[in-house]
């Protein structure tokens, strides 16, 4: 009987990363660079921006006259599109070692269920966030981080940690990012569905921007949590590692919400409030590219370090 066993499958281990032992197969997957993850992330951002452009352009050109029911149906369809775009790009790219479709879909649905059953009721019905969070700038920032940020990021963390995390399919650090992104998109989809239903349908042009901003933001901050989860599984990390990860994601989430509010709300005049949702989209796209790029660069660096140590 060998002294050490693989931390993923339990087979005899031959290599180690940090304090964790791996069999040859899982050592290979743990140290493999998944370049497609970069490409799917960039394609997600580009694809979503193109999607916004198409819907916005069609809305301007055709000026469709929908009945209230059709508006709700169109809104519901739009709310689902960002998740479909991500999954489509992900599977086109992820041919080398595809993650099980059922697991990705399951994590996505769990994210959606927890958002609907826990996240939204906590934010809206227990904390009544909209009633006090805009009192002043400090309250907006702190409330966005401590209430909205922590609730959303904890739930996305919980979805991955208490489902796929202990599975043998979670066999490399990048999987943390992939599954957490799926959970984040599930959460975003429910937020968008709620927005459509609460407003009894939405104007296609402006609402598609909002939906894509929500999807990009939720996916990006979930990616941060996923990075910390991935490293926590394959390296011996101190007890404060994961709390730091959740807190960082919550802070980014809260600051993004505050900054987006500042950018989107141009001002209030006697004729009404004017907004510019495009600036929110630009911010979300930049944040998504930077956060995903940074996370994947960090994972790549860790792999190189592990290989160099071997």
């Amino acid at each position: 009987m060998p002294d050490q066993v693989c931390c993923v499958c339990g087979d005899p281990a031959s290599s180690k990363i940090g304090e964790r032992w791996f069999c040859e197969k899982h050592y290979q997957s743990a140290t493999r660079e998944r370049t497609h993850t970069w490409r799917s992330s960039i394609l997600l951002v580009v694809g979503l921006v193109v999607f916004v452009g198409i819907v916005y352009g069609l809305d301007l050109l055709i000026k469709p006259a929908f009945t209230p029911t059709e508006l709700i149906l169109a809104g519901l369809l739009l709310a689902l599109v960002p998740a479909f775009i991500w999954m489509a790009f992900f599977y086109l790219q992820d041919r080398l070692e595809p993650e099980p479709k059922g697991y990705i879909l399951g994590v996505f649905l769990l994210g959606a269920i927890l958002a609907s059953a826990v996240g939204i009721p906590l934010v809206d019905n227990l904390f009544h966030v909209s009633n006090w969070i805009y009192a002043d700038t400090a309250t907006t920032i702190l409330g966005s981080i401590l209430v909205v940020g922590f609730i959303q990021e904890f739930l996305k963390y919980a979805v991955v940690r208490y489902s796929i995390y202990l599975s043998a399919e979670f066999d490399e650090a990048t999987d943390g990012v992939i599954y957490a992104t799926a959970a984040g998109l599930g959460y975003a989809t429910v937020l968008n569905l709620q927005y459509v239903i609460a407003n009894g349908g939405v104007a296609l042009g402006s609402s598609v921007i909002r939906m894509v901003v929500v999807a990009l933001a939720q996916a990006s901050f979930a990616g941060i949590t996923g990075y910390f989860l991935g490293r926590a599984k394959f390296e011996h990390k101190p007890w404060w590692w994961m709390p730091i990860g959740i807190s960082l994601a919550a802070v980014c989430n809260g600051l993004f919400n505050w900054l987006r509010g500042l950018l989107v709300q141009r001002g209030i005049s006697l004729t009404g409030a004017s907004t510019n949702p495009w600036l929110g989209l630009v911010l979300a796209a930049i944040v998504a590219l930077i956060s995903m790029g940074l996370i994947l660069w960090l994972i790549r660096r860790n792999i190189h370090t592990a290989l160099a140590e071997k």
């Binding site: 931390c7 009192a135 959740i246």
Partner: protein, 195 residues
């Protein structure tokens, strides 16, 4: 030879500790958020008029008082119907009973509020003072016929305090969905009422 457990299948002590640490940090964050919420909702500014003083919520919009009202403030951030507090001074005959004042106020509300219905009424003690409580509901609708919003269902609470030749009526109007959640703040307002 040493037996090594599988980190992927079993939660090590360190992993369990980290899981609890995440839960604790999240709860601490939410608790801090709750304290900020309470602090924002409890911010108040003093109000004094006609010998009546109270602490009204900070940041609320003070609109022009109508009729016998001396105070009319509305929360600009509440969704649906804006939560409103009013204080009204009703002149009454010195020998008037509280039942007569209640009847007079009920008739007045019935004439001015759409679909006004009394839900309950009773004698109560409000922070050591004898008062009469009337709970009711009415419909608030924009009078503009081209306005395409569904009217709001509003819950109301009136507290009537007899004070010599006048009655002081402190009223709480709120969207029916927010009645319970906003009630605590109104009680703090009532507690601050001095005359």
């Amino acid at each position: 030879m040493s037996a090594t457990t599988l980190p992927s299948k079993n939660n090590s002590l360190g992993q369990r500790f980290a899981d609890w640490a995440v839960i604790v940090v999240t709860l601490v964050g939410l608790l801090a958020g709750w304290l900020i919420k309470n602090s924002v909702e409890n911010r108040s500014i003093p109000f004094t008029n006609s010998g009546i003083s109270a602490q009204i919520p900070q940041g609320w919009l003070m609109t022009s008082a109508q009729g016998n009202e001396i105070l009319h403030v509305t929360d600009p951030l509440s969704s649906g119907f804006g939560t409103t507090y009013t204080i009204e001074i009703m002149p009454v005959a010195s020998e008037a009973t509280v039942d007569q004042v209640v009847t007079q106020l009920t008739l007045q509300r019935g004439q001015t509020l759409t679909a006004y219905r009394v839900l309950e009424q009773q004698k109560v003690t409000v922070f050591g003072r004898a008062a009469y409580e009337i709970g009711y509901v009415y419909v608030e609708s924009n009078p503009n016929l081209t306005h395409n919003q569904i009217p709001n269902i509003v819950r109301g609470l009136d507290y009537i305090f007899l004070n010599g030749d006048h009655a002081i009526v402190a009223a709480y109007w709120v969207d029916e969905k927010a009645f319970d959640s906003d009630l605590g703040r109104f009680h703090r307002f009532l507690n601050s009422l001095k005359f």
